[in-house]
Each structure stands twice: as C-alpha cells, then as structure tokens.
C-alpha cells in the first residue's frame, strides 16, 4: 500500500467520506477548521450533504435530525464549540442515535487558546450534558490512528446506537504524517429499522425521542442504557503498552503526550532506566482492569501521569485503576504548552528516586 502525506484534519474528513458519512454539519473554529473546509468541497462530490450551520448548537441538532432518519451523520469542532454541543449530545445519547463527533482539543477554559490542549477529558468521559449517558471516546495519537478510528467510529456508533467521540488535539489536527488507506474491518451491523424515514407500509410509527414522562419508563430506559454501556465497556476497551514488561516506572498518557513519551522512553532506556508507557486508547471505557493489573506487578514501582492539563483529569481514572497500589506522580501543562521530552525524563527519574 502506498503511503500518502496527509494533514490530520483533512485526513479526518477524507476518512469520514470513505466510511460512508452522508451528512456533515459544522461551524469553523481553530484548530479544526480544515475538517469542515475539506468536507464542504469533497462531501457533496460523493453525494453527501454539507451544511455550515449558523452555530454549533444548530450543527449538533442537525446531526440529531439526520441520525434520526438513519443517515451517517458527523460533526467536528474544537473545545469551546464542543461545549456548545453538549445538550445535543445528551439528547442524541438519550434517543439512542449513532453519530460521530470529533473534538480537536485546544486549551481552555472558556476561549482559552487555539493551541493544543487536553482539558476536555472530563467533558468527554463524564459527559458535559445532563443525565446518565456515555459516549465512547477514542483518543488517537497519530494521523494514521486518527483516520482508522474515524472510519471505525461510524460502525461502532451504528452497532451500539450511540455517539462516538474522537478526541485528538490541535497538533494532531494540524500536523502532516504519512498514512495508508488500508481497509477497516467491517462489523456486522443491525438494520436501522428504528429510523424515522416515513411510515409507508409499516405497522407503527418510528419515533425519535429522549422524553419519558412516566418515571418508571425513564428508569427502565436508563437501565437499558446502562446495560448497553456495560457491553461497550466489555467489548470496546482498548489500550497499548510499550516496554511495560520490566518497567519500574510507567508513564500514563494519551494522544500527543503519549507520542512525546515514546521519545522520552528512548532517552530513558538509553540511560538504563526501566520505563514503560501505558496508553489508554479508549478514554471511555477506560482500560481500568489492565492498568490495575499492571500496577499489581512487582516490578512496577511508580506511575507518572502526563497530560496537557494543569493538574490532571485522566489522573482521576489512573488513581481509580491503580487503587493505591503504587504512588502516582503528575506532570502537566495547559493553555497550549506541551510537555517536553526533557521534562518527562526528569520527572520519571525523580519519581523513581523517591521509591528506590
């Protein structure tokens, strides 16, 4: 397969088109504007619909409508824009509709900065909208993974009738890297017999709704959702371990910091420091069991969590998984500043020194 050099954001859009995205609704915001820009030119050429909406709120509600009629629908934005979409995401999750949402994260809070950030971890994994719902959250750390995940996300969304989020950051969106368009394994998907496509000869109306007036009905619906989320947690949890077999210090990181950590691993291993990387690939479901088991290994002495967040958000999940078995240190920057290889090297050594 021939390699092609693609910019992250444009590759996201092309991947969605290849995955059969029917409709894209979006609004420009740095650093993800190349996604709607590319879509505006290329999606209509493939028979799809592109709408630049009047706002992010409108865009997510257009996704709601299109997904409700059985279309493969997508939106993308960056942090402040994703905040505006939260109500719609909650409705879509409540109405059990599949869609793909890309968050090319920048620094916050508020308008923050247009430079890369990871301060939306809580929002993505805990739900920025109301109610008991989950979105499956995929966190690629290079452009190849990003295009693979975007393509797979449509299938995952259809399989579970649930929104799937791809969270990358400004750097992944803006950088160029060689990729291959290899085929993505196809899932066996249920028919969209729930879609509101007009009654025709059907016995009943298909109704898309997230409102349950009777508390018992709403309770039942929530328990049904919880069962679905449990199935997602069982089947879809993903992570990667690098050089963890003998690691004394394990770095936990996702997205861009995880790939910076790979260079730190090289530097530390060259100095004889036994270091590994545990990288959650799905942020929800979080690879809790795998990290718990790694923490139980006798060779592991300590953890170093690294994020583009001032005091750590994924850190909470790392703590829940490690369950106090080993000390956890933290290194983070927010507001568009990325942690450096040198900082990771120093922090890993310092963490190890404390336990030796």
């Amino acid at each position: 397969m021939e390699k092609e050099l693609w910019k992250g954001n444009e590759a996201i859009a092309e991947a969605a088109i290849r995955a059969g995205c029917d409709c894209f609704f979006g609004y420009p915001i740095t650093p993800q504007s190349e996604v709607p820009e590319y879509m505006s030119v290329h999606l209509p050429q493939h028979g799809g619909v592109f709408v630049q909406s009047e706002s992010e709120v409108a865009a997510i509600n257009m996704v709601y409508g299109a997904a409700g009629s059985g279309m493969r629908a997508m939106t993308s934005s960056s942090s402040p824009g994703i905040s505006l979409k939260q109500e719609g995401i909650s409705y879509i999750a409540g109405a059990e509709l599949p869609c793909v949402i890309v968050n090319c994260m920048r620094g916050g809070p508020g308008l923050g900065t247009i430079q890369p950030g990871q301060g939306d971890y809580y929002q993505a994994t805990r739900g920025g909208g109301n109610g008991d719902y989950r979105t499956l959250v995929l966190a690629p750390s290079n452009v190849q993974e990003t295009v693979d995940f975007v393509q797979e996300a449509f299938d995952i969304a259809d399989q579970y009738r649930n929104p799937v989020m791809i969270v990358c950051d400004g750097l992944i969106g803006q950088m160029m890297e060689p990729i291959e368009w290899h085929p993505i394994p196809k899932r066996k998907l249920p028919p969209k017999d729930w879609a509101a496509t007009g009654r025709k000869s059907r016995e009943h109306n298909n109704i898309i709704n997230s409102l349950y007036m009777a508390p018992e009905d709403c309770d039942r619906h929530n328990h049904h959702l919880a069962e679905k989320y449990a199935a997602m947690a069982k089947n879809e949890t993903r992570w990667q371990e690098h050089q963890c077999q003998d690691a004394e210090i394990v770095i936990t990181a996702y997205g861009t910091p995880a790939r910076i950590a790979l260079t730190a691993l090289e530097a530390l291993r060259a100095e004889g420091v036994k270091v590994g990387l545990f990288r959650p690939v799905t942020l929800w479901p979080f690879p809790e069991r795998a990290l718990h088991n790694l923490a139980a290994a006798s060779h592991v002495k300590a953890f170093l969590d690294v994020e583009m967040s001032s005091s750590g958000q994924m850190l909470d999940d790392v703590r829940l998984a490690v369950e106090g078995q080993k000390p956890i240190h933290y290194l983070g920057h927010a507001g568009g500043v990325m942690p450096t290889v040198e900082e990771m090297v120093d922090a890993a050594k310092a963490a190890l020194k404390e336990v030796k």
């Binding site: 247009i114 750097l171 803006q174 890297e177 790939r259 260079t263 730190a264 691993l265 290889v341």
Partner: protein, 178 residues
C-alpha cells in the same frame, strides 16, 4: 538516523513548503516523517515555522526544543532558535534577508544568498528551493533525484513550465555548499 529540523521565516517566504518538501522526499525514500506547523496569530505578517522529523525509526515526538538543523529565513527566526540547536548542528541562513551572523562557535553555519540566486534564475519566489538545495547537498540525507522527481510531480498541466525554473534554483542552492 534521526534529524529534527526547524524551518522558520516570514509568511510567504516558503518555509513551510521547504518543510513539506523535506517530509515528502523523506517519505518517498522510505523514512518515517512528521511535519508540524506553528499555527496562530504570529502567522499574519509575522514569523511562521514548522518542525520536521526524518527518521529511520517510527517518530515519537513531532515537536522538539533542540533541532539538529535550523533553517532561518529571517532575523527573528535566527534570534529565536539559534540557542536551541544541538551542539555540532547546522544553521542555514538566508543571507539576503538576515544580516546577523550565527553567534555560537559550536555550530556549522551556511550563508545562502537565496533571494539573489532566485532573482538570477528569474523568479524571486523560488528562494526556498535554493535553500532546499543547500540543505540537501550539505546534509546528504536525501537524494537530489528524489527532490527533482518531486518537483516534476508538483508542477503539472499549466504549471509544468515552472519545473525547469525550480530545478535550476534547487541545483544552484546545492552548488552553494559544494
């Protein structure tokens, strides 16, 4: 083999394009590559830069504080990045725009009159191809044939007439350091 290169200059000088050309050529020669641009308000009339990694192993961090080589197309770029270059590294300076000299004595400095050569070959826009030639010839990282094939690929149809001009600029740049 791993090279970490920063290319920096005014918007419009073609610095980001030099980086893309290096990444494309590196990929064509089977290397692992990344190209990461600075993005932000500094790009409007100010200095823009990009970070390129060429490596025979998978690329970890696409950003770095200590480049192996710096290509400085304007003065603010030299002032900003010279201090970070790895000892023994190389700095390529567009000497028609930058009057300052490289201060550090542990670096190899190459002064390339990009604008002047570009004028001589007939188009001020190809100054970046002159610099690319100097970089390729000095580092020996990439084959000149790969770059020239890429130039043929880049300019097709009505733009095909720009191929000889760009190749001439590239070769003149190579000659600067040979």
């Amino acid at each position: 083999m791993k090279r970490e290169i920063i290319i920096s200059g005014f918007g419009g000088q073609g610095g980001l394009a030099i980086g893309k050309n290096l990444a494309e050529a590196g990929m064509a020669e089977g290397l692992n590559v990344t190209w990461a641009p600075s993005y932000g308000p500094e790009m409007r009339g100010g200095t823009a830069n990009c970070s390129v990694v060429l490596s025979d192993k998978p690329v970890g961090s696409p950003v770095f504080a200590h480049p192996t080589e710096l290509i400085a197309l304007n003065e603010p770029s030299l002032a900003k990045f010279e201090a970070g270059v790895q000892p023994g590294g190389a700095v390529f300076v567009n000497s028609d725009v930058v009057t300052d000299k490289v201060q550090r004595t542990d670096l190899h400095a190459y002064y390339i009159p990009c604008s002047q050569i570009a004028e001589e070959v007939g188009n001020p826009k190809v100054g970046n191809m002159v610099m690319l030639g100097a970089y390729v010839a000095q580092t020996g990282l990439l084959k000149p044939e790969t770059i020239e094939a890429m130039i043929h690929h880049m300019f097709t149809g009505s733009k095909a007439k720009l191929v000889p001009l760009n190749i001439e600029a590239f070769r003149r740049g190579m000659a600067c350091v040979q």
